[in-house]
Symmetry: C2
Subunit: 197 residues, 2 copies
DNA sequence: AATGAATGACCGACGGTCGGTCATTTGTTT
DNA sequence: AAACAAATGACCGACCGTCGGTCATTCATT
């Protein structure tokens, strides 16, 4: 035959080599010519592995988010209170064991592109991620109810908590601040109500 | 000595004439050449009144949002329960007296552009809008506490409610659904807790 | 009333940028 | 040397924003 490269792996490598570049420039200022240079390939080669620029960025994001979700699974076995688990689940901001600031920026880029794109792969992936988080949250809450830490009605707040976190994230992006404390205060206030006194 | 037009007014007119176009195409598919054609002016003229494409869209959005906030002020005098007021405050989705679906789409475009733009006028405007809503919400909650409808601690939920709404909005955008009911359920659940039995 | 100078409104051809394509070259296997 | 995968950068066209020039109106002067 001829040279056979591992398409999947090369695709991943090209994408990953541009992670910093994306963080630095942001989607709209990211140039395909720079992607190619950074990955050490020609511009045309980029298009042998990706449909378009958006596809490259999507790949970078998928990798980071999947990595984050694996982390979550691993660190979740540690026993904690229900409230601690909830805080940890959403602790994109500053985790004791890892810095997720990159993920936060990349996720912002992802959201901004997703909002400008008609329903497609990005929307579907976002949905998947949200479902993963939601299912995890439901587990946490159900555990908390079972252990008596929180009350039965707490399940009614699953979607509220999910969306509050999303909202705090959005606020952080638009106001260039870190909403970690605000989110914590919100959770404190909520748990004060749903907790079994 | 020459024709003097009302710059401010013409600027507004050009922008407003393109509202439907923006709703139809979305920011990224909006072409300056089409803006010009729709407004019935030459492309160069657009740039006599606006810094760039983003500026045009910003003007459209400012007008719609200001209009919405005026509406809010007017319709707020009707006496209602605290909970009804809260629902009304966030009822971008489907208001009994007006259809805000356009505003929702336009606000989505606004957010997506804001996320791709470094801090500037758009961020500042967004901040202003949020503050307006927040102050209104604080008034509502304080009224509710005063009237005995809800408990003292309810004030702790101001930011949570704000962000939950933002989050529901974001969810609606990314999943192409209307989150009105979900938001209502969230408010129901919350008021069941913060209400005086 | 007629003239023309001054000025601002208006315009579209053009330059530059950048995403995406494709004809060609390079290198490997058989 | 044939056959084919991989790599590439010159090229294309879409689109943004600029700029030099035109046109319409107003006003000063006659």
């Amino acid at each position: 035959m001829a040279i056979i490269v591992n398409k999947e792996e090369k695709r991943r490598n090209i994408a990953l080599s541009c992670t910093e570049l994306l963080l630095d420039k942001g989607y709209s200022q990211l140039r395909v010519s720079e992607i190619a240079k950074t990955a050490g390939v020609g511009k045309g080669t980029v298009y042998d592995y990706f449909k378009n620029k958006e596809d490259v960025v999507f790949e970078i994001i998928r990798n980071l988010i999947n990595e984050h979700q694996e982390d979550l699974k691993v660190h979740f076995k540690k026993n904690r209170t229900c409230k601690q688990k909830v805080l940890h689940l959403f602790d994109f901001y500053l985790c004791e064991h890892k810095d997720y600031s990159k993920h936060l920026i990349v996720y912002k880029e992802f959201m901004s592109v997703t909002l400008t794109t008609p329903a497609g792969d990005m929307h579907a992936f976002n949905h998947e991620c949200t479902n993963f988080i939601r299912e995890t949250l439901v587990d946490i809450i159900e555990d908390g109810i079972r252990s008596g830490e929180i009350r039965e009605e707490s399940l009614n707040f699953v979607d509220g908590i999910m969306c509050a976190e999303r909202g705090f994230m959005l606020k952080g992006w638009t106001e260039n601040i870190n909403c970690r404390n605000e989110f914590k205060q919100y959770i404190d206030a909520l748990f004060a109500l749903i907790g079994n006194k």
